[in-house]
Amino acid sequence: MLGWEFPPFISGGLGTACYGLTKAMGQLGIKVTFVLPRMVESKYATHVNLLTPDSQMSAETVEFGELKNVSFRTINSPLQPYSTPGVYQQRIEENLRQKHGGSATGTVIGGIDYSSNMYAEVQRYAAVAARLAENEQFDIVHAHDWMTYPAGAAVAAMSGKPLIVHVHSTEFDRSGEHVNQMIYDIEREGMHRADRVIAVSYFTRNTIISRYGISGEKVEVVHNGVESNGNWSLAETGIKKDEKIVLFLGRITMQKGPEYFLQAAKKVLEVMDNVKFVMAGAGDLMHRSVEMAAELGIGHKVLFTGFLCSEDVRKIYKMADLYVMPSVSEPFGIAPLEALENDVPVIISKQSGVSEVLKHALKVDFWDVNEIANKVIAVLKHPPLEVMLRNYGGFEARKLRWKDSARKCAKIYEETLVAV
């Protein structure tokens, strides 16, 4: 399996999904070798570093105690799943600075087109992965999202094993209509090259068929699951509050619709006062969102937390009365399931994969801020509604097990192997 993030090195839902899926597959007795490009210092990885690779081209094996039958190979590379060339450039600069003793001035890098470098990085990852695969035994190559497609294709070509690409999101989800042509081309090529394509929702399957020209019979849907985190008591956080808290949790980027959250917040505050809105997460629209909250005159009612580690995420869920996901385009969206796991009712965008599997959730069009506000107010005002969404929704979310997703993948493996 080729991936690009894994807990604790995560910046979004992809790592969580890979973790849940591989763990469940391990329990089913499927042996998984997980190849991971790992950066030295991710600013998001607030946990301790496990290992620091020394040499640029070496591959390491990392063991995770709770993951049966899953072994890891990491390749040192600055790849990040939600990268744009600009972000990528920053990251390389940061890296260089650290290598030069943390000096803030660092090495001056300018005038170089880094998008070509990102492309080169994907290719380099492919080359290393292919070499790595020479020493591994496997029956199927399973690649998660575009950065790993060339690697998947290379490994498959070298080994003659079938390739499955797993689409957790597409360039259209991340960038709307302003797609990065290079990424789109990589995605398209990977999907065409693959023997089977796994989509995380029917929503994504439609995109794959209509935007990438993939034949429908090749594309299967495997919905994500949710990882049970056990029970946490409220006392643990020591929170007492007389204000309701409405939560936005996710990367603050165009895809997640932060501006709709803020506009809805403004409308809610016109009707009720004892509410705070928390935006947890980081992203390229973070500053814009802070400004926007101020412009709307609700700055004092909106809190920005920045990126949260999983421990803090759990705490914030404990505080929240309602989770809102106004995503413009969300291939799946694991966060609402986690919210329900933590007994927080959810309002989700109809433009999301997760709305295909949740019935006991309020659903809205992301652009309909009036309706988002209407529903937020209803949940905060009517306890029976809140209780039912929490109880039934939680029940529904807990039924979505990674084990079922893993089983579906296993079935697709079998079918693919028979066909080859």
Partner: protein, 399 residues
């Protein structure tokens, strides 16, 4: 002797429009949607079915009879959106072979929450039927056939009814069958007619089901089942939603042809006839007393109230609604009272039902909502506005 007693329930609620917490006017109802549904059902069901029954009644010259229970809220809608349906009901009334039953004008669950309100609504319905069709109903059916001993006692005490009807649920009958007239426990005059749910559902639900071993159901076959009742019963009460014809069972299932041929097949047996509920009450004496301490209804397999009051949202919404009764009536404002009463239709609570929701088998017939949660939110927003109206504190209009 087997007397076949057809009674058709004819009802459409006044559906609410999408009403958010930001809406501040008193236009709660979706006239466009209500008009289009009313006309659609009129064309597919009410008109063709009325014409068919009129034909049959004329053909059999007094030997074929049916009963209708038409809610007040539907009559209002038919008068404004589909007057041609009203003229066919007029024609039916004039045949003398059609009986109109009494129920709550607003198709409400008011019996459960306010007896005063309940009696007012029943009287209003009786007066309306009298005004439109020149009949004063002597038989009562409660919304969704909801029933218990207390209801029977209340109806008897009103002094104007001969009989009441409810579901022939297995658990109230025990070893007895629904094909006799019974007496409600605690009553001395009132008679109880029980729906034969098995034969009724053969038509209402199973008629077009190709997995059913008895499919296809022919008039001959059904008439034979009716005749089998002879010797072990006096009546066969077939209580159906009128929308069975043309809506629940589409025209191409052959439901109209089935009905066209059924009367002659049934009457072919010399011991069979057709009677209206009022005639049944006059012809037959009770054979036993039926005790129903707990509420029953004709809904789902549970035959209880869970379809309307089974979850926290439903119970909250209806309690809030009836809590306003005094305030609403104190305003003396006809429009406020009428709006409040239209909100009492059981359908609004049915839309909030989460039973079977997860299985995708929503109670979704003509359901205007995507989810029970949306329906609750909408209802509560309307109720909130109504509340403000009767307190006289109108919120500022946000233009």
């Amino acid at each position: 002797m087997a007397s076949v007693c057809f009674y058709f329930q004819v009802h459409q609620p006044v559906r609410l429009r999408h009403y958010t917490v930001f809406d501040q006017n008193d236009q709660y109802f979706d006239d466009y949607k209500n008009a289009s549904i009313c006309r659609k059902v009129a064309n597919k069901c009410y008109l063709p079915a009325n014409r068919l029954l009129l034909d049959i009644i004329r053909r059999f010259e007094g030997r074929f009879k049916v009963a209708y229970s038409i809610t007040g809220v539907l009559l209002e809608q038919l008068l404004s959106f589909s007057p041609e349906v009203m003229s066919t009901f007029d024609a039916l009334a004039e045949t003398g072979c059609v009986e109109f039953l009494a129920e709550t004008y607003y198709h409400s669950l008011s019996f459960l929450y306010s007896h005063d309100e309940f009696v007012e609504q029943v009287n209003k319905h009786i007066d309306t039927i009298d005004y439109l069709f020149g009949q004063r109903s002597r038989v009562f059916r409660n919304t969704e056939l909801i029933y218990n001993n207390d209801l029977a006692a209340l109806i008897e005490s009103m002094g104007r009814f001969d009989a009441i009807m409810t579901e022939g649920a297995d658990h109230i009958l025990g070893l007895r069958n629904p094909n006799f007239v019974y007496r409600p426990k605690g009553c001395s005059k009132l008679k109880l007619l029980l729906k034969n749910y098995s034969l009724s559902d053969d038509i209402a639900f199973r008629f077009s089901n190709r997995d059913w071993v008895e499919w296809p159901l022919t008039a001959d076959k059904f008439a034979r089942w009716i005749s089998d009742v002879n010797g072990n019963g006096n009546v066969v009460n077939l209580f159906l939603d009128y929308e069975t014809f043309g809506e629940h069972q589409w025209k191409d299932t052959g439901i109209f042809d089935f009905m066209r041929h059924l009367p002659e097949k049934i009457l072919r047996h010399p011991d069979n006839d057709f009677k209206t509920p009022g005639e049944i009450a006059q012809c037959y004496e009770p054979v036993d007393t039926i005790d129903v301490p707990h509420l029953i209804s004709w809904a789902d397999t549970e035959r209880d109230l869970s379809a309307w009051l089974g979850n926290a949202m439903q119970s909250n919404a209806i309690h809030e609604l009836y809590r306003l009764e005094k305030k609403i009536k104190k305003t003396g404002d006809e429009r406020i009272i009428a709006d409040w009463r239209k909100l009492q239709a059981s359908d609004h609570f049915y839309y909030m039902c989460t039973k079977y929701f997860a299985d995708g088998d929503v109670h979704k017939y003509f359901n205007p909502y995507d989810s029970p949660y949306d329906s609750y939110i909408n209802f509560m927003n309307v109720l909130d506005n109504l509340h403000n109206r009767c307190s006289g504190r109108r919120a500022a209009l946000s233009v």
